[in-house]
């Protein structure tokens, strides 16, 4: 069996498992009144002056509708981003706004039915990619307001079953897809033997703590192998700690604040315990902001180490002259996808491009890239939601249309969720364009 066939088979098995996830979710039943009260509490607590300015500011101009891949992909007006934060706006207007005395008289309160209705708007049809945040003339960070609405729904026990199953699993065990420390250790040994590389586990004194993910262990271990090859090539003193290896954070993905903090704290406490100077997350888009921009806030003080995305760290190694690169034999041209959580939410755009160019590859940009890049359609855990299949595919087609127009030999991605969605989307569309991991393509093309 070829590596490609093996990958396809693993992918199918993995997707089969994802399809069953919803059945594993524990119920989160509660009275309607409690759902509403919990959701409102989140909305009220999240209102700071900047959020109040945003909620006061929307002029219903509709420009955000022209930036949203779900709205455009489906042609359905109900996916207009301005609508997605309307629940938070209603609660703000009735409870906190300077004109609340008026709004209480004319604006009906939110109901449990509203919360249920909004589940589709903020989970199934929003990846919080923030493309709409880039177009709003009033400067409303719509993605952030959707994030708070997800948090409100999570508090109200209304996370979609598939995501809830993952969130509950991670809250209890810290791991995802049932990839325990033992499974990870076993898989790492297997990868070491198969690829003839060293993946140091529990190496005392290592300056760089690398995180991996259940997704990489189960499916995209080429990204882990690539990362290991690069770090070894650059003679980085690194390790994976078995007591805290999982970078995925289904707290951020689901909006479940307690899980976000608990999972981030697990990693932070381990990094502090092991004196890590740098923590490099795996190619898992949201894992980067979860630790980089939410970690310290949950932990209660600034982090005593750097947090970097793999594409960011690899670019840094290249800039420092620690990587000798060669041209891939099977690729001449590539196009690079800017994952939302790493790009628009993390400012990592140019470094990976420089590395790909240094490999002698011709980089062909999609029409929209950097700040205006189209989302793959499956981020923010949308890739897990079974009923969102049609929405995902329609929005995937927008991005993939631009990818195909570049006529590049391959698409390079530095986010596992994006990669998963590209693989599934292209399979549905009968396309065959290779989708490479950034770490894998760099790791496979290091000059000796």
């Amino acid at each position: 069996m070829s590596m490609h066939q093996e990958m396809e088979q693993t992918f199918q098995m993995f997707m089969g498992m994802v399809g069953e996830l919803g059945k594993l979710a524990q119920p989160t039943d509660m009275p309607d009144s409690e759902r509403v009260a919990r959701a409102k509490k989140v909305f009220l607590e999240k209102t700071t002056w900047d959020i109040a300015t945003e909620l006061e500011g929307c002029i219903h101009c509709g420009l955000c509708a022209e930036a949203c891949h779900y709205r455009i992909g489906t042609g359905d007006a109900k996916y207009t981003p301005a609508k997605k934060f309307e629940l938070m706006r209603t609660v703000y207007r009735r409870e906190l706004s300077p004109m609340r005395w008026l709004y209480k008289l004319i604006l009906p309160d939110i109901t449990a039915r509203d919360l249920e209705e909004w589940q589709e708007l903020v989970y199934d049809s929003c990846t919080m990619c923030a493309r709409c945040s880039m177009i709003c003339p009033m400067g409303i960070h719509i993605a952030e307001l959707v994030e708070y609405t997800r948090e409100a729904l999570a508090e109200a026990g209304l996370i979609p079953a598939e995501i809830r199953a993952m969130q509950q699993m991670q809250y209890e065990t810290g791991t995802i897809f049932e990839v325990s420390a033992d499974v990870m250790e076993f898989k790492v040994k297997e990868l070491e033997e198969t690829h003839g590389i060293e993946i140091p586990l529990n190496k005392a004194g290592a300056e760089v703590m690398v995180l991996t993910s259940g997704l990489d262990i189960m499916l995209y271990n080429d990204a882990l192998v690539g990362t290991a090859k690069i770090l070894n090539h650059a003679k980085v003193n690194w390790t994976i700690w078995v007591d805290s290896f999982e970078c995925a954070n289904f707290g951020l993905l689901s909006g479940h604040a307690a899980t976000l903090k608990r999972q981030a704290d697990r990693v932070i406490d381990a990094a502090v315990k092991h004196n890590a100077k740098v923590v490099v997350v795996s190619e898992c888009g949201h894992a980067y902001p979860a630790l980089r921009f939410y970690g310290a806030e949950g932990w209660g003080k600034p982090l005593p180490f750097e947090v970097m995305a793999p594409s960011e760290y690899i670019s840094k190694l290249y800039e420092e002259g620690k990587l000798k690169l060669k041209k891939p034999q099977d690729r001449k041209t590539v196009t690079l996808h800017d994952p939302c959580k790493v790009g628009r939410h993390g400012g990592i755009f140019d470094g990976p491009r420089e590395v790909l160019k240094a490999m002698g590859l011709e980089l062909r940009e999609t029409e929209n890239n950097h700040m205006t890049n189209w989302c793959c359609g499956g981020g923010a855990a949308v890739f897990l939601i079974d009923r969102a299949a049609e929405l995902r595919q329609r929005s995937f087609e927008i991005k993939f249309g631009e990818v195909k127009a570049t006529r590049a030999d391959a698409l390079v991605v530095s986010c596992g969720s994006c990669r998963l969605n590209f693989e599934r989307g292209k399979m549905n569309a009968g396309e065959t364009l290779p989708v490479d991991s950034f770490a894998q393509i760099v790791g496979d093309n290091l000059a000796s």
Binding site: T48, W49, E56, M138, G139, I140, E297, L303, H345, G346
Partner: protein
Amino acid sequence: MSLLDFARGPALEWSLLIMVFGIFWRLVGTFLFKGQVYLSKPKGTRFVAAGLRTIATRSWPDERLERTIRFQHYSGYLFHITLFIVIFLFEPHIEFFKWLLGFSWPGLPTNAVTFAAAVTVATLIALGIRRATNPIMKSITNADDWLSWLVTIGPVVTGMMAFAHQNIGIRYEDLLGIHILSVCLLFIWIPFGKLMHMFLLFPGRYQIGEKFEFRGVRA
């Protein structure tokens, strides 16, 4: 007391008072909330520059975004510029501002202002039709949108009627009274609805510029 006396007497005074107090109340009530607490290390450092830059760049979106919003963008510009001309560059309005503020500035010829007023009304009608028929706009439109539209187009239409009173056959004084009353309605509604965007526009853009600077991103 005639209609005109009422309009430019107590109606104007009370509506101005409500507007000024209301704007102050709403702005203070919005900006007095606490700020977000950031403990993460910022990626960018030039927050003020980023905020100011975003105030400017949101007026001229990236071409790839712009191409999908040309109608809304240019009709918005057209409406706001012509409305500005009508409000601030019409000689009788400048007299009003001189009474209110104590100083004045040169105006434009009446024909130019009349043309601007016609463009304002035409653009507002076009935008109104779009709001009433476009599925996206319909899905997000509420009473505030229509009320704000009405109190904005009202003074322009009544002002044009007052200007053309000889052709309409109603006394100039009555039409002027109606015009001033329609302006009073506009003044009263400003603090309550979305017309407050004239004051929230720059703070909104500034804060999102800062937010994305924190992430090392040019918004």
